[in-house]
């Protein structure tokens, strides 16, 4: 299979779906860029993810907007109920604050409020996460907030393969989908088929299996967890690593099965700790998987603080392998000693 970056995988997903379905449009700030000029001078999004789409599909389908996020999301949501399949780009997910109403009170609630009449096939793409020294307002991981909201689906891909398949699913999906791309992952490479394929939502990916503990991790943290897992293995501790891929819907079954086998759970997430995805999984297991648990559930997250700018602080802010290892060891140690 050809190797591609996540950026290329995402671009390919959009291009292929746009070829297949003329109702798919892309809308956002500078998704073409460069005064809407096509060709050489277009930028294709601040991180280049929509590069070339304007050239292939024209300015009627790849639509630059003013800086006006409420109108971007509102326009996309209105277009979605009226027959298009818009992919709206929010740029940094941190900007949800200037358009949250259109996401959570409008798009997310249409179907329910309107008694099942609306279909809102809307994808909102946004960059998530820390790691590029962008400071407190451009580095947040806000998937917990979206996951809290009924009516939204939330996707957090960790690999180029998943990114393509999940984005295609998001575009084909009839519900509003929040699609969160970790900015540190755009350049990672992985095998990505040339043809279009969809990965269903709510199906976790088990990347590694071990008997001592289960690690649930998302997005960039999947890579950190895998690193921690190898280091743990060299110490004789074998862990399962689960990537839920979507936080809403959540593949509870797979997580519970893994915990049933390992009896121990560590959740790794770079979001803030309170009322978060980490607590969500921990609580779900403390309820439905209580009988499996042999040790406290540990959460490795960012602290309850905004994202700091200074590199040393930002690096300490984001979960790293050492903290994951310490968390696993803190709950595996006892039993290992006992066994």
């Amino acid at each position: 299979m050809p190797k591609k970056s996540m950026r290329t995988a995402l671009n390919e997903a959009m291009a292929q779906e746009m070829r297949r379905d003329p109702t798919v449009i892309v809308i956002g700030e500078d998704v073409v860029g460069g005064q809407g000029g096509l060709g050489e001078t277009s930028v294709g999004g601040v991180f280049g993810v929509t590069k070339g789409l304007g050239e292939e599909f024209g300015l009627d389908r790849v639509i630059d907007t003013p800086i006006t996020e409420s109108a971007i999301i509102g326009t996309a949501a209105g277009a979605a109920v009226a027959g298009l399949r818009p992919i709206a780009e929010l740029m940094f997910v941190d900007f949800l604050g200037v358009c949250f109403d259109q996401i959570f009170n409008q798009a997310a609630k249409f179907r329910y409020m309107f008694g099942g009449k609306a279909r809102t096939p809307l994808v909102i793409r946004a960059m998530t996460g820390a790691g590029v020294r962008a400071g407190a307002q451009h580095s947040q991981a806000l998937h917990s907030i979206f996951t809290h909201i009924p009516g939204l689906k939330v996707v957090v891909p960790s690999s180029p393969y998943d990114a393509k398949g999940l984005l295609i699913q998001a575009i084909r999906d009839d519900d509003p989908v929040i699609f969160l791309e970790h900015k540190t992952l755009y350049d990672i490479e992985g095998e990505v088929p040339d043809e279009a394929y969809a990965i269903p939502f709510g199906e976790a990916n088990v990347l590694r299996e071990g008997r001592h503990a289960t690690i649930v991790a998302l997005s960039r943290q999947v890579h950190t967890a895998m690193d921690a897992a190898s280091q743990l293995a060299s110490k004789g501790i074998e862990v399962t690593v689960v990537d839920p891929r979507t936080t809403s819907p959540l593949d509870e079954d797979t997580i519970l099965e893994c915990v049933e086998e390992t009896g121990r759970l560590v959740i790794v997430d770079e979001a803030n700790p309170r009322c978060s995805f980490a607590t969500d999984v921990a609580a779900m297991v403390a309820d439905k998987g209580f009988a499996f648990l042999k040790a406290p559930v540990r959460m490795v997250t960012a602290p309850h603080a905004p994202v700091p700018f200074a590199p040393v602080l930002e690096d300490a802010y984001v979960p790293d392998a050492a903290r994951i290892i310490a968390a696993v060891e803190s709950i595996v140690a006892n039993e290992e000693a006992a066994a």
């Binding site: 109108a71 326009t75 298009l84 109403d101 009170n105 008694g115 009449k117 009839d174």
Partner: protein
């Protein structure tokens, strides 16, 4: 513009329906027979109907918290609306929406909206879809003077101008946002002129005068339909009732309230059409009779109807999940 008899009668019917609907809902609400709070459109009928008589089912409207009038003007089913407002099974939204969330996407009604300023961006989106899909439809956004100060409205205006979509903004200026007058909430400035600053053609119409609203709306809607360009219509209207049922409007003078009642758009339409010798009293009376029966039936039926099944509590959150 000379309107046909049939058009005038249909306009009259919709306006009479709105009036009767609102008076009934208002009374039932005050009597505690309707759950929650309702915002009545009575007095403003010519705005919604004057605009919507220019629309068909392929056109979209986005509405407000004061949405019953827009729904009726856009031909939502009266019985379904009444059931919805009573929170009953068979309501237009299965009883899950209520007064502030009535919608009927099948006929281009994008929904009443509980969020002030929530609708205009959605109408721009519907206009974009109509343009892209080549349906020939337009998107109309109704909103109030109070909503004019909401950032989302300014954004929607600019967005429509930039994207060059067939969107028409209809500012229903009744002079109040809740209990606060426009002289305060926007310092009494000309809200239509403010919109013109965004690069939109702006027309104004007296919202007591059905013909004036219809004509101005026709001009902007035609422009949107044929040239794909947005426009802005400011309609001065009178809010007869309080912000919601139960608001005594102590903050408005008796003179002001009396003047509002005098400028009754339904009576004025009827008078104008009679004076012009266009339509005889009988025809109007017959409509009034019909309307009264329909509203009575809808109301009685809604009160007697069963509530939604408990099993619907968690259905239709998603298409699939």
């Amino acid at each position: 513009m000379q309107l046909e008899r049939g058009v005038i009668l249909e306009a009259y019917r919709r306006m009479a329906l709105i009036r009767a609907f609102e008076e009934r809902v208002g009374a039932d609400s005050m009597a505690g027979l309707i759950p929650g709070f309702v915002h009545l459109y009575a007095g403003e009928e010519a705005a919604a109907v004057g605009v919507c008589m220019n629309l068909t089912e392929k056109d979209w409207i986005g509405s407000t918290h004061r949405g019953h009038g827009h729904c009726i003007a856009k031909t939502c089913d009266i019985e379904g609306m009444m059931l919805e407002i009573h929170g009953k099974a068979g309501g237009l939204c299965g009883g899950k929406g209520g007064s502030m969330h009535i919608a009927d996407l099948d006929i281009g009604m994008l929904g009443a909206n509980g969020i002030v300023g929530g609708g205009p961006p959605l109408a721009v989106g519907a206009a974009l879809a109509a343009k892209r899909l080549g349906t020939g439809g337009v998107g109309v956004a109704f909103f109030g003077d109070g909503a004019s100060n909401q950032g989302t409205v300014a954004e929607a205006l600019n967005m429509a101008v930039v994207l060059k979509v067939p969107a028409v903004f209809v500012l229903e200026n009744n002079g109040y946002g809740e209990f606060t007058a426009a002289s305060y909430h926007s310092n009494g400035i000309d809200l239509g002129a403010r919109a013109a600053g965004f690069g939109l053609p702006v027309l104004k119409a007296d919202g007591s005068d059905y013909f004036a609203v219809h004509e101005a709306a026709a001009e902007l809607i035609d422009r949107a339909r044929t040239q794909g360009l947005p426009g802005f219509l400011e309609v001065k209207v009178n809010r007869w009732h309080g912000h919601f049922t139960g608001d005594s409007q102590a903050y408005r003078s008796q003179e002001e309230l009396a003047a509002a009642r005098l400028a009754d758009p339904i009576r004025l339409l009827r008078e104008r059409a009679s004076e012009a010798g266009l339509i005889e009293a009988d025809a109007f009376d017959a409509i009034d009779q019909d309307v009264a029966e329909l509203i009575e039936r809808a109301s009685v039926q809604a009160m007697a109807a069963p509530p939604p099944a408990l099993s619907t509590l968690t259905t239709d959150v998603y298409v699939s999940y």
